[in-house]
Symmetry: C2
Subunit: 265 residues, 2 copies
């Protein structure tokens, strides 16, 4: 069986040609109810790159959360005794700690003032993904969207209807990770593509079965897009053009390690 047969059977492309990572500038400050697909379409048009069938559109979680109204006014929050105790010990705002706890399905680690939790979606991240930066008010917190896969699919469908293009959509967020310093962007919502490239049972050029069996394409795409998005200039979306993905419904939940396979729970 030739390599190309293997790849064809598995319906993915092992080695790709050139990719372009295109930042989408000019998207205005977003507020609840804003037309995010419309803003993305306008920014893509204005930048001269447009949106094309086959593009992977990567959107920062905060943009999605804002238009979906996933915002909390700290002045409406009454912290629990638990939140107060923890916040007092580490000089945190107890209302913020309360919001983090409410967004957490499970606390994974609570140490040295760092709170790492598993969200309702199954993502493990600092502060349950709750964030105050780039939100626009010092008393406003931004939460993760309740169903980022559905958010991605909604944007995908809206772009299909308006522009007649078939794109994959990734909602990305910035997560830390054990053992390595600093953060990278990962996919928390996926629509229109298989998030994982699966080499299980395939062989290398020498006929040797590959040990590296699955690659997290959606996470690598989210990270690649982050490189042009920045944290200050507020570029909330980017296009990856040229990446041949496997069309599929897709879900970022495929990237969440199930408890039975997680040695570090």
């Amino acid at each position: 069986m030739t390599q190309s047969h293997q790849a064809a059977d598995r319906a993915f492309v092992d080695a790709q040609t050139e990719l372009r990572i295109l930042p989408l500038r000019g998207i205005p400050e977003l507020t609840p109810g804003d037309d995010l697909p419309g803003e993305i379409a306008r920014a893509a048009e204005a930048s001269g790159v447009g949106l094309q069938t086959g593009d992977v559109l990567v959107i920062a979680q905060k943009a999605v959360s804002k238009v979906e109204g996933c915002l909390v006014d700290l002045n409406t929050i009454e912290p629990s005794a638990f939140a107060r105790t923890w916040a007092a010990a580490f000089g945190k705002d107890p209302r913020q700690t309360e919001v983090v706890l409410r967004e957490s399905a499970r606390i994974v680690k609570m140490a040295n003032g760092v709170l790492i939790s598993e969200t309702r979606h199954g993502f493990v991240c600092a502060n349950a993904g709750v964030d105050a930066s780039n939100v626009g008010g010092h008393d406003v917190l931004c939460l993760l969207p309740p169903d980022p896969d559905a958010s991605a699919e909604g944007i995908r469908q809206a772009l299909r209807e308006r522009l007649g293009v078939e794109v994959a959509v990734i909602i990305s967020d910035t997560f830390g990770r054990p053992w390595r310093e600093s953060l990278t962007n990962v996919a928390i919502g996926v629509a229109g593509m298989a998030p994982i490239r699966d080499y299980v049972g395939l062989t290398d050029a020498h006929g040797y079965e590959l040990r590296v069996t699955t690659l997290a394409d959606a996470d690598e795409l989210a990270g690649a897009a982050e490189l042009v998005m920045g944290k200050i200039a507020a570029v909330p979306a980017a296009i990856v053009r040229g990446f041949v993905y496997t069309p599929a419904e897709g879900s970022a939940r495929q990237l969440v390690r199930v408890p039975e396979r997680d040695l570090f729970r």
Copy 2:
């Protein structure tokens, strides 16, 4: 202080323009002593993209290990009693387990047949980075280079001398991670660029101090390059063009979390 002043003071670019990810095809099967910078220069030339000052060159660890002769013939390995016991319990080759143990500074997790260790470099990964695929012989294992930063710097200097270009070099490998399924490429060697983008103390467009403080540029670049490298077609290197990095000596060790900051040791 304006945002641009902030960025200028910190000597990095927050939001980038278009990036291109260019696979370097046509690099032949490598063996110990081969001229890797020469092969890369030839492949870049033949593909029509060349190498330019400012490029980030990402090279798969296996290509570097092969030319440096970081290979072990399993037939020369006498497994210890410990290696035999573990291997027998999980149907592994005890010689391979022995090599993994010799490459490990510390075992992080040993469960369900999975062996995750900390290498001498400080990287935490499965099997201490020891790998048998894409090596070219069923009894040959490939080890991580002893000093991937030095490998990267050597290639960087060779390309400067031969082509007169100033590039950054990243040696990448494919690692798993807790909590998330599937693998991504990360940087295990860096030369010529700051591997981390540091936002500490900077503010967002609303004047709010950023919570996300450091981004692992080198890991995101390694992951972006992986998207065009593949595991079967053997594309061992790629160029990221257009990414404005901060010139620096650089080291992948900056990406290794120090024990005091590691909640998951």
